[in-house]
Each structure stands twice: as structure tokens, then as C-alpha cells.
Symmetry: C2
Subunit: 257 residues, 2 copies
């Protein structure tokens, strides 16, 4: 060590990554606003001094990242899109599908997210939010006799309305993603259940109580309702050894003593 400087290992950065980087930076800097069009692929290969394939690989990456939309034969070039949380949802969903992830972890996570969403929603909701939640609840009630899939859609709409009232994009996409994973994990259990209407009625009553708590701006009760009902729904589905891990989140105050 003749010098005091510390060197870091350099990883070979490929050509297409440099192209992605430059375009992404331009978008993030606001140099390329949503709706703007990129030059044609041939122009780009001239500007970046790389081959057509390299440009295309970069465009595919940016397209799959949700920053661009490319259409075949569009003389205007690729369109810059407004950044959306769709990729965040995909990342979260992927993360939750990873093997070795057990149901208890997903349910735990959902207990945290739903409770926080309800807490925030109770504190920050407006009248518009309340009417949206009520509408979703009415749809749920109407769909009990229709079928579980329709009921499930209305259920998702209710949770979405709550997350919207909470006013946090991360909570919103998190709730959406984790809910999708959970229902995916127990879908066949529901399909095999003898008395689906009873399950839906039970779910309906719980959602009504949540809405009531949010309407009365009772955040802690809304949060606790989320934790309790999720525990009640899924405690039987997890192994005995894991049930304690769910209970650890159930009522924080209990553990204070």
C-alpha cells in the first residue's frame, strides 16, 4: 500500500448499461419529460456510437422498467412515460414469491401494513374517502350471493380505498401486493371451503367494523381490527410453531407488561 487511497473493485460495465444509465438519468433529471419522444434507434446508435442491438437491449430494459413505451413502426420514436408504481408492485410480488418464504411471514407483513394503513386512514380520511369505502362495502354485500371472485374484487377495492385514504403510495402498493400474494397462497383453500357464503358474511362484518372505526377516526381500533381479523383468518393455516410469531404482532400493548 504505497498510497493512502483505497481502491474499489471495478465491475465490467457493459455497453447497454451505459446507454440505459444515460437515458434513465435524462428522464430522472427531467431533461426528458413524460410524453417526449426518443430519437429513432438508428439515431441513437449514432449518438451513443454503439450497434443497433446494443441500443435495442437498452430500450428493452427501459421498457420493462416502465420508463418507455416502444411501438413497432412508430416514426415518432419511443415515448417517455410517467413513472408509475407498477414496477414496484412487480418487485414486491416477486420478492414475496421467493421460495422459502413462508405463509407466516406474508401474513405478518400484511398485519403490519393493513394495521398501519387503517391507522393512517382513520386519522386522515376525508368524506370522499368514506363514500368510496362505503361504496366498496356495498358492492361486497351485493356480491355475497354472486360468487367469491366478484366478492374478492370488491374486497380489493375496499382495501384500495383505505390505502388511498392513508395517502401513502408505498403503503398502497404494499397492501395491494401482499394481499395478492396471500390470496394466491390460500386460493385453493377457499375454493374447497364448504360454506363460502359464511366466510364472505364474516369478512363483510369485519370490513363494516373497520369502516366504522375509520369513520369515527379511531385509528388504534381500526389498526387492532386489522391485526385481529387477519390472525383469526390465518392462524389455522400456519404451523403451530409459527402461530406464536403471529401472536407477537397481535396486541403490542399486552407484551408491555
Amino acid at each position: 500500500m504505497a498510497t493512502g487511497a483505497s481502491f474499489e473493485p471495478v465491475r465490467a460495465v457493459r455497453a447497454y448499461e451505459r446507454v440505459v444509465e444515460q437515458i434513465e438519468d435524462a428522464v430522472l433529471r427531467g431533461d426528458l419529460k413524460p410524453g417526449a419522444r426518443l430519437p429513432s434507434e438508428r439515431d441513437l446508435m449514432g449518438q451513443f456510437r454503439v450497434s443497433r442491438s446494443t441500443v435495442r437491449e437498452a430500450l428493452r430494459v427501459l421498457e420493462s422498467g416502465g420508463l418507455l413505451r416502444c411501438r413497432p413502426g412508430d416514426p415518432l420514436g419511443a415515448e417517455v412515460l410517467t413513472i408509475s408504481p407498477s414496477t414496484l408492485t412487480r418487485s414486491m410480488t416477486r420478492l414475496m414469491h421467493v421460495d422459502g418464504l413462508r405463509l407466516v411471514e406474508v401474513v405478518q407483513f400484511r398485519m403490519m401494513l393493513d394495521a398501519s394503513a387503517n391507522l393512517l386512514a382513520a386519522r386522515l380520511r376525508t368524506e370522499e374517502h368514506l363514500t368510496a369505502m362505503q361504496a366498496a362495502l356495498d358492492t361486497m354485500a351485493a356480491n355475497v350471493s354472486v360468487g367469491y371472485t366478484q366478492f374478492s374484487f370488491a374486497d380489493a377495492a375496499f382495501h384500495d380505498a383505505v390505502a388511498a385514504a392513508a395517502g401513502n403510495t408505498l403503503v398502497q402498493v404494499g397492501v395491494e401486493a401482499v394481499r395478492g400474494v396471500v390470496v394466491g397462497l390460500i386460493a385453493k383453500k377457499i375454493a374447497l371451503a364448504k360454506d363460502q357464503p359464511a366466510l364472505m358474511e364474516k369478512s363483510l362484518r369485519h370490513h363494516a367494523r373497520v369502516l366504522e372505526a375509520i369513520r369515527e377516526q379511531d385509528g388504534p381500533r381500526a389498526a387492532q381490527l386489522a391485526r385481529e381479523s387477519l390472525f383469526a383468518y390465518y392462524a389455522d393455516e400456519v404451523p403451530d410453531a409459527d402461530r406464536e410469531r403471529l401472536r407477537a404482532l397481535l396486541d403490542p400493548v399486552q407484551h408491555a407488561v
Copy 2:
């Protein structure tokens, strides 16, 4: 409408997307476990019946998504990676740079995650976890005089140890991702700060109190400590209008009355 069936518009799905879809599904199904290798690009173009360029575009997308790692000249083929929160961090970072996502939302989300992680850790920690946290804390203390970057690494190690004690992969990666975003946002603020050592000392004291609460298995106190310290750190950084949104999460019990 001669038929009762309802048709949906089909969007032209490109060849590389089909390839991405198939490989991604195989990984998510667990058919391709981390560490497994993909066939060579020439084999893949044979199996998918597409050209090499198409295969490469798909591989680039999967690589940028963090599912694969490709190396030039590797006869073993692309390696399937373990899902990491890096892409989640990137998505969140992008979302924030476009001001669709504000600092208040990220701090809110971190308050939720850190509080829950501390709560679970206090309830479920073992002696091994405690020694790991203590070791990270000692490293933080030793690095106060060294520099902020080293201190920050030890800080991350502490939070990682707490998340590990919580025993939930989703919490772990979530904490890591959101922490990365937050420190990235206020990095220059720290760099410009007059008295970095004072900030580090303050942070050190806070972490020591958290460890104490976790050691005593006082979950609610550990959770509240996380919320309070994050609020104290970042309340000044958010606009006045947003501060109320942070306070809504600060002490849930207060809002009960």
C-alpha cells in the same frame, strides 16, 4: 354480438416478452432455484425457436431485474440469483425522483417498518441476536471518530441484525430498501452538516436505547423509540403541511382519545 363471449383487445406481445415470461415463471415456481444455471444462449434460441438477439434482449431484461447474472464467456451459462431488494430500492428511488413520491411517504413507511421490526425483535430475539446487535453497536461507537461512511455501514449492520431477529424476510428487505432510499435522499444534508460527530453521537445513543428495550423484551417501547427518533430526525426535512402526516403515526395511543 352473436356470441355471449366477451373479447378483450389483444396487445401485440413481442417475442422477447414471451421468453422473459417463461424464464421468470420458472424462477418464481421454484423450478429454477438460486445458483442454478441457464442453458447457453444458443441452446435457448433453439428451445424458444427465436433468434439470438431476441434471447439476449430477454436476458438483459431479466438481468436488469436482478433475477440473473450473466458473465462474458461463462460456459456454465447465466446464473439464477436469489431475489434481492436491490430492484425494489431502484424502483422506489426512481419513484421519488419524479416527485410522485414525497419524502414524507418514505419516512412514514420507514417508521412503520422499523417500529414493527423492533417490536418483533424484542419479542423473538435470542442471545445470538443480542450479541450481533451489540457487536454492530460497538462498531458504530468505534467509527464515530473514523468517518460517516464507516459509521453508516455499522448503522446498516445494526438494523440488519434487528431485522434478522424479527425473523421476517419481507421486513428485512423492506427495511433495507427504504433505509437505502432515505439515506440517499439526505446524504448531502449530512455531508454539509457542521457537526457530524454530534449527529453520530446522537444516533448512537438512540440505537443503544433501542437495544436496551429489545434486550428487556419491551416491544412497544422499542417500537415507539423507532417512531420517535425517525420523526425527530426527519421532521425538519418535510414541508410543514406534511409534518402532520408523520405525527399521525407517531403515537397511535394519543389519537385514541
